[in-house]
């Protein structure tokens, strides 16, 4: 049992949290519900807010000092994740650049690549998208088929990606493709041949097709590559050996989204908003609301267990998967409770009630995808089960 851990630097985390909430209150419109609304103003809001964070040196807090960061540890990073997610991720698409694209370029990139990309990511003025999933390669990422054919000076890429967020507005794509002739087959590890390309999205032969979806505009897109030329110097890491980079990406995304933070915020906000009409809410629904508060607290505490172990340099993969399962299930359960409260006829009839109803509905739609995106809940359950079955100790600790 791993009870005793490094304690969080409470004063430091509190100070950062206050500072972020102040910035959010002053610089983010109250009706902001993320950049998936399909309104250009939402994307502009996110871009403007990122520049504010960059100016305050808060955008790349976790980056090493040599790249303009503050080398913030896991606890401060957690505060940033919580405050951003609870306010519908006002960094928009930037969170990808800051959280993992920048860090993997630092680790695997050439000096030229670092010089080209890191200053722009840290200034908050470049958008990236992630070219991973394909029609036949979702959870089974190693089965991807998009092909890179070596040609003079670089590669020609042909294939298709899907479910790519932000593709229509991204300037760069972090793209996975496999070398020609390395298609999975008998006696060959399907991870061999996979290569990471840093591709400009205005390259001829690159095409984006947005998908109309339940979860919102910009969220899901298709990307098509027809003989797209990428210069050799835009390969990240070793040609044909990109899999370790993918593993690094997953490690940077380890704790993932602080979904509990938005649940906490909305569960409290809806209660405050309803005010004295709370007594009109059916008792059964009030009970489900309090249960959701408990579940949200539990998910948060499970996240903190992972963060504490990160801080101490020994992460248990079972804890990570357990947290991710708990938090996505929470998100869906809490969003159902919130939707029911929003539909109980007790929100105020004015603009404020409309804003809250819209916020809640947005949360509900996004939570639907929580058990699918960034690794399905089935994959999490599978890796968790393997970890606990393989561990000779068994049980919780």
């Amino acid at each position: 049992m791993a009870l005793s851990t490094e304690s969080a630097p409470v004063a430091e985390t509190d100070e950062l949290r206050s500072r972020l909430r102040r910035l959010i209150e002053e610089r983010l419109p109250a009706d902001y519900v993320g950049s998936f609304t399909g309104e250009a103003s939402a994307v502009e809001t996110a871009e403007a807010f990122c520049r504010v964070l960059a100016a305050e040196q808060l955008l790349t807090l976790a980056w090493p000092e040599e790249y303009g960061g503050k080398a913030a540890g896991p606890w401060l990073q957690t505060v940033v994740r919580e405050e951003m997610w609870s306010h519908f991720e006002p960094r928009g698409a930037q969170y990808m650049g800051v959280n993992w694209i920048g860090p993997v370029i630092m680790r695997h990139g050439t000096e030229e690549q670092k010089a080209q990309h890191l200053p722009r990511i840290s200034a908050g003025d470049v958008l990236w998208c992630q070219g991973f999933s394909e029609p036949e390669a979702g959870s089974d990422l190693g089965s991807l088929r998009t092909t890179a054919t070596p040609v003079e000076g670089g590669f020609r890429i042909t294939g298709q990606k899907v479910w790519t967020s932000y593709a229509p507005i991204a300037e760069w794509c972090f793209l996975l493709a496999r070398l020609e002739g390395t298609a999975p087959g008998p006696g060959r590890d399907k991870r061999d041949g996979i290569t990471v390309f840093l591709l400009r999205t205005d390259t001829p032969g690159f095409e984006v097709r947005p998908l109309d979806t339940l979860v919102g505009a910009l969220h899901l897109n298709e990307m098509f590559f027809t003989d797209v030329f990428v210069p050799a110097e835009q390969v990240l890491g070793e040609v044909g050996n990109g899999w370790p980079i993918i593993m690094d990406v997953l490690a940077y995304e380890r704790v993932g989204i602080a979904r509990y933070a938005k649940c906490d915020r909305l569960l409290a906000e809806v209660r405050e908003h309803i005010g004295d009409r709370w007594a009109e809410v059916p008792a059964g629904l009030r009970d489900r609301w309090s249960r959701a508060l408990v579940r949200s607290r539990q998910a948060r505490l499970m996240a903190y267990r992972v963060v504490a172990s990160q801080d101490a340099g020994r992460v248990d993969p079972a804890d990570v998967s357990a947290y991710r399962i708990a938090v996505t299930v929470l998100d869906q359960e809490a969003s159902e409770v919130l939707m029911e409260l929003a539909g109980a006829g007790v929100l105020s009839p004015g603009a404020e009630g409309d804003r809250l109803a819209r916020t809640i509905e947005d949360h509900w739609r996004y939570a639907l995808a929580g058990t699918v995106s960034s690794g399905t809940i089935e994959m999490q359950r599978r890796s968790l089960a393997r970890a606990i079955i393989d561990s000779s100790a068994g049980g919780a600790r």
Binding site: M1, A8, V10, D276, D287, Q298, G394, A396
Partner: protein
Amino acid sequence: MTEGMRVELPGEGIEFGRGLAAALRKAGGVDLARAAHRDPGSRESVVLPILEGSGVLELDARDGLDELTAIAAACRAAGSVALPYPLAGRLAGALADAPGVAVVSAEAPAADHADLMTGWTAITPEGSRAAIAGPAATRSAVSSRFAGGLVVGPWSAGDPAPAVLLMLLQGWSVLGSLDHALSLTIRHSRDRVQFGHPISEYQGIQFQLADAFVELSALEVTCEDALSAYAANAASAVVDVLALRVATLEAAQKVLGVCHQVHGAIGFTDEHDLSWLTRYGHLVRRSPLGASGTLALLTAEIERGGFRSLFPVPAYSGAANG
């Protein structure tokens, strides 16, 4: 302004619990429960001396976080072997100036080991208390020989603190039981071969184990959090302990459900420890209130006093009137 981030419990207290767990395993582990079922006198002739020898009965929950942690960890150890003795009630007794306490509903007071509680104090979650005159002559729960009704004296109003502490310790005790039950289940899934493979290789089993582990982990962090909240301010921790109890009851149902399902018929036999963990974890899940009643109590408490969170839930002023 909002939440401190990580609960940190003193390692010494946790170590104390590990020591007691080792001593209980050495004395037979779950066999102590089997023996008590055959010979109820062994609870006082065999189990009690082990507890006395460990020093746990001298700990006082009012003496700060170190002792409280040791007490909670000891209850976890007791739960892990379905210890046939009301240890948590005994340890919470000091808060009521009584040899022990049982947390009960006034309508149907009941406890495990009711026959050992004569002279103890019965307390409701709200703090009403009554002297325990002895075990009721009512029918015991079928699943546990020792779960039974209590004959109590007249009720009077009082401080709920002993009941809150006892519910906190019961959470830790159930945590110990579920942890052990899931360990047994994971081991069984590796050993049990059907259709030519250990059943742990089947995804239908794996997913159940994963979900049970998630529940157990969630309960463990909630136990730590409630303990820390209680140590910081016992009076305001009522809501945290009720939240823990909601989590405890939900986890018990889910984890034990998975454990029995994965074990199949063998898990119901008394030669298997799982049967005893279920038997002796039964009454605490129903009394003083079951899952629905506890949740309603939690809702009322949140409405009365608010709830700690990243975005704290304020108290509901209308609650006083409604």
